[in-house]
Symmetry: C2
DNA sequence: CGTCAGATTGATATTCATCAAGATCGGTGG
DNA sequence: CCACCGATCTTGATGAATATCAATCTGACG
């Protein structure tokens, strides 16, 4: 898939894009780079001059907590802009790390701002992605807040399924999530051991199958969504009129 | 304090505002309304046509979780826009409720969009508030994710102190936070009983005093920030050049 | 075949929720 | 003025969810 293809899919699911707008986005100069799993894509407390579009792989927002542990506050999937916030906030408050090997396309802030100036509707669309990012983050907060491990896990699976489906990386309730159980623990705020036991429960109940190599199949979506208390409104899958 | 005064303070702490921009914001027609504690300011799954500016009081984003419990994913203080996200996302994914009695000024989306069209820099500034909101949300996620109750509480106190200070509602380490312990529990994802015990620990260690009527004094900021592992970068208190 | 990362399992420790019973306090009506 | 009331804060006791530690198992890969 081309660099821009995933972005266009992600955006056009939320709003109509004109041919001209697609052209403008496609014409943006991009610097493509590969990251190995574990590498830092964007460091914390930095002042980037470009923003990254995740093209392949999974990345995560990482904030270190006091005692050496880390908390991942978000998973990023292909089509997500990794640090659009730096376009407006000078200093990053978190790092973005590669959770699997990743392909990232960088677009300079300057170029991006020029395009927005020439096409305010694109600006609004990018603003919308910031809003969406906030909504996804909120869902994450709820998730780690007051729910038990099983609910958290179910919610994460629902969230990823819908987001991957948008960019064509999930279909018929199947997808690949090649994250280790330790990484899942960092995402859900639970220990790796408990992730393991939680997955076993989901398997035992025949709701989800998730093998060691990361192939995930949702065997009973309705039950999964019920366990998760999942409400997809936050994903804003209803198109906005212009 | 006038309706717009708190908003101007909040914004001008992050970027320069010209006299013209201030005039535009002040000239926006507003519909002022009072809410009693516990009332819903913006319902969930609604399609608002205006956005609320919190002028006085504390509000919270509320998402209900399965078993009747609620999770507050954010506290809003005077100067905060309560639901700017609805300007771009049609349907609200959460409710906003009054945690104390609140004064809210509503501004219609239409008027707001007109102003932005005429003054792109104001649009960027509002976009920045969306970004900022995301950063505050992220800090919240970290907070409820993997930290113990004491750390969560310390973090919330630091967060509120800085945000209240910006709008002139905190100074010399003193502020009023008239939230019940049950409400604090909903914010931190812990039970009300545990909130009580946590506050006692902070009092016993002479880090914070917090009496029943909501007067809070940070007696040892450095120790509090150390307990919290607090890093204020996310509040973006460094002004952006234009 | 050896190695290594990750998954799995069992045993124990900790944190926090829950339940239940006072204590405190501001307000309210007699 | 006083008795009462409801809401909130406080305290103690018990139990459940999850962390932590340690050991073993598995599969990929050189």
């Amino acid at each position: 898939m081309s660099d821009i293809e995933v972005l266009l899919r992600m955006l056009s699911r939320r709003d109509e894009l004109t041919a001209e707008e697609m052209r403008l986005l496609a014409a943006l100069p991009k610097r493509r780079r590969l990251f190995a799993r574990g590498e830092t894509i964007i460091p914390s407390h930095a002042e980037p001059t470009e923003c990254g579009l995740l093209v392949e792989g999974f990345a995560g927002r990482e904030i270190m907590v006091g005692d050496g542990g880390r908390q991942l506050t978000a998973v990023k999937v292909p089509g997500d802009l990794l640090d659009l916030c730096t376009l407006l906030m000078r200093v990053t408050d978190h790092a973005v790390v590669a959770l699997t090997s990743c392909v990232v396309s960088f677009i300079s802030h300057r170029e991006l701002l020029l395009v927005i100036e020439g096409c305010p509707h694109l600006g609004r669309l990018l603003w919308l992605t910031t809003t969406l990012d906030g909504a996804i983050q909120r869902n994450m907060s709820v998730n780690v807040g007051r729910r038990d491990a099983l609910t958290r896990m179910a919610n994460l699976i629902c969230d990823l399924y819908h987001r991957l489906e948008i960019v064509g990386l999930a279909e018929r309730h199947a997808m690949r999530i090649p994250l280790s159980q330790a990484t899942l623990g960092d995402l859900l705020g639970i220990s790796a051991v408990h992730v393991n036991r939680t997955l076993q429960t989901l398997r035992r109940r025949k709701v989800v199958s998730w093998n060691t190599s990361g192939d995930v199949v949702i065997r009973d979506y309705n039950r999964l969504a019920a366990i998760a208390g999942f409400d997809p409104v936050y994903l804003n899958l209803v198109k906005l009129s212009r």
